[in-house]
């Protein structure tokens, strides 16, 4: 199959994009009525329940990478490849008790930056913000590019048009509805994604004779069945630590922890991990079936949509189109909202305009969301090289933040010095490993170096932190766990 010829006709693609785009913006406007103040806009009134909480965590973590990269991982690295990707669910699982701890220590906080600033001081805070913003922008840009590429591959919609529409839709409904709209649309998107993946996976499973499946792989791709394939085994831990780093540090997850009702965060994150876990296994299996189904793969990035459309025809392409749109939107909106929260709270309010009124901050938030959308568009438009490689480059950066966060939540002796050294040394050595050894060890090495730095600093020069210093509004009720 020549992937340059789209499976869907352009009219169908444009129609799908228009229907979902208009619907999502309308939902954003409708849900936005609830966002009456800044806390409503940024944190959905801190009143999100278990169902919506679980759905938004699951949907946000299903990115276009889950749908597109996992099949590629499976095709590149076999069974371990798809299992390696699914280890990203461990991050959600481990964040469940951490969310409980975060809520107990900082019930009225807004961002992950608040924690780092109060726990470790301004130097660590600045470094943390730099890491977080770099990572958030690379994620945003990778999602934007993926949207344009997939729309073009599936339906022939020109890259620039597809990318622009997806970004515009996400910016608009995030602008109108804030976190209410983000979480509400995430719920719908999570249902669509689950149904879509199950349908495509089930049909592919029916078409493949499992007895031939193993024989074909053994004959043509023997290393894919090798349980000791080095790069696959290493990517298991690497992906896990990349996932830990993304979830533990990023405000996307902290804002959800702050947005949920008391007693909900740890349950919601636990449930979302369980719902998310089978998705990369299913999408990875689809990629692994390309060979046994006799499907040539000219471009490994497109193996998922290729197999789905071959097996299901136009119907499969429509399902993939919708699932990819939902996975992109669910991640882009979360990133826009969480990154603008970080910039409004940590940079604008805390650094530049500490006396800003709530309405002023709400306006700033609006402009920042629009600005993020514009910057993302400008970076996506030239369609620079391999954005997946750039995204993986941020792996060592975020992995270096794992131990400053974990130790900061549970070890009274963890100090700002350890946090700064952990992030600096972890990032530097991790980036070196990325280029010297390969992408599949960079996050692992970064996490190990960071852990060593944090633990050593805690041992040699422990701090004696007072946990109550994390609650900037001490008149509020605090749950147990101090």
């Amino acid at each position: 199959m020549d992937l340059r010829s789209a499976v869907l006709d352009q009219t169908t693609g444009v129609l799908l994009l228009a229907v979902f785009g208009v619907l999502w913006v309308a939902l954003g406007v409708w849900w936005g009525r609830n966002a009456r103040d800044l806390e409503g806009f940024m944190l959905a009134g801190r009143n999100v329940g278990l169902a919506l909480g679980s759905a938004t965590a699951m949907a946000t973590w299903v990115t276009s990478n889950t749908i597109m990269i996992t099949p590629k991982f499976a095709l590149q690295m076999g069974v371990w490849g798809m299992l390696a990707y699914s280890t990203a669910s461990f991050g959600l699982l481990l964040f469940a008790p951490m969310a409980y701890r975060i809520r107990s220590l900082m019930p009225r906080a807004f961002t992950s930056g608040d924690f780092i600033r109060l726990r470790y001081g301004r130097l660590a805070w600045g470094l943390f913000l730099a890491i977080s913003l770099v990572y958030s922008m690379t994620w945003l840009v990778s999602m934007g590019m993926a949207g344009g590429i997939v729309m073009q591959a599936l339906s022939g919609i020109p890259y620039l048009h597809g990318m622009t529409v997806i970004l515009t839709v996400c910016v608009l409904y995030t602008l109108f509805g804030g976190l209410y709209a983000v979480i509400g649309t995430d719920f719908i998107q999570s249902v669509i994604i689950l149904i879509g993946v199950v349908v495509v996976g089930a049909v592919v499973l029916q078409k493949v004779e499992l007895s031939r499946f193993h024989a074909d792989l053994m004959r043509d791709h023997p290393a894919l069945l090798d349980m000791l394939m080095p790069v696959a085994l290493l990517s298991l831990f690497n992906n896990m630590f990349f996932g830990f780093g993304e979830i533990f540090h990023n405000n996307v997850w902290w804002s959800r922890a702050f947005a949920m009702r008391d007693g909900v965060p740890h349950k919601a994150f636990g449930l979302s991990a369980l719902f998310w876990l089978p998705i990369p296994v299913a999408t990875g299996f689809i990629g692994l079936c390309a060979g046994p189904l006799g499907i040539n793969v000219p471009d490994a990035d497109m193996v998922g949509p290729l197999v789905a459309s071959r097996v299901l025809g136009s119907a499969g392409a429509i399902v993939v189109f919708i699932v990819v749109f939902c996975s992109l939107a669910s991640s882009i909106d979360s990133l826009l909202a969480a990154t603008s929260d970080l910039l409004v709270e940590d940079v604008y309010r805390k650094m530049l305009r500490p006396r800003s009124s709530e309405s002023h901050l709400r306006r700033a938030s609006t402009w920042i969301i629009v600005g993020l959308g514009v910057v993302t568009w400008l970076l996506c438009a030239p369609r620079l090289g391999d954005l997946i490689q750039v995204l993986f480059l941020s792996g060592p950066l975020v992995a270096s933040a794992i131990w400053p966060i974990v130790a900061g939540l549970y070890w009274r002796g963890a100090s700002g010095l350890g946090a700064v050294l952990g992030m600096l040394l972890g990032s530097a050595v991790g980036l070196w490993a990325y280029f010297a050894q390969g992408w599949f060890v960079a996050s692992l090495i970064s996490a190990a170096v960071s852990m060593t730095a944090v633990a050593t600093a805690t041992w040699l020069r422990p701090s004696s932190f007072v946990w109550s210093a994390l609650d900037e509004h001490p008149t509020s009720a605090v749950a147990g766990g101090r």
């Binding site: 791709h221 394939m229 080095p230 040539n296 000219p298 549970y410």
Partner: protein
């Protein structure tokens, strides 16, 4: 006036020149875009090829691989209209690939072969990195679980 032998020579010469000038009809040459060897630590690569001569409608490409540079034993990896193929799951060592255009019973010449050399990480390196990963994972898990239990108990 031209003699018969001279006329025959001229006809043969003209015919030869005409044949040389024609594209290799039904036997176009195909070449890989990469000369190789392609060295990979991950066991995969994307092979792309292009027709040096115009390819007739209905032609397909046949991609073969072998563990032998002389292609004494071969396996057809792909046969179809695509001009690229992602090859993965290759065993450690060197695999050779070649491609040609085929139309019906007529096949063009094979391309120059390209070698893909797969060099996975050594067992000792793998072992050390896996051990490191296990240590960091367990340390993270224990810190969170123990910390959570202690705080729940009010410690």
């Amino acid at each position: 006036m031209m003699t018969a032998p001279k006329r025959a020579t001229l006809v043969c010469l003209a015919g030869g020149l005409l044949l040389a000038a024609l594209p290799a009809a039904g036997r176009p040459r195909v070449e890989f875009e990469t000369e190789g060897p392609i060295i990979t630590t991950e066991g995969h690569a994307t092979l792309r090829w292009a027709a040096v001569d115009p390819v007739e409608r209905g032609s397909v490409f046949e991609l073969q691989d072998s563990t032998d540079p002389e292609f004494r034993s071969t396996h057809v990896w792909y046969r179809g209209p695509d001009r690229a193929s992602f090859v993965s799951g290759l065993p450690e060592g060197t695999s050779w690939f070649r491609v040609r255009a085929v139309r019906g019973q007529r096949a063009g010449p094979w391309s120059d072969p390209v070698a893909i050399e797969v060099d996975y990480a050594s067992s000792s390196t793998l072992g050390r990195l896996l051990a490191l990963g296990a240590v960091v994972f367990l340390a993270t898990l224990v810190t969170v679980v123990v910390g959570h239990r202690r705080r729940e108990a009010g410690g």
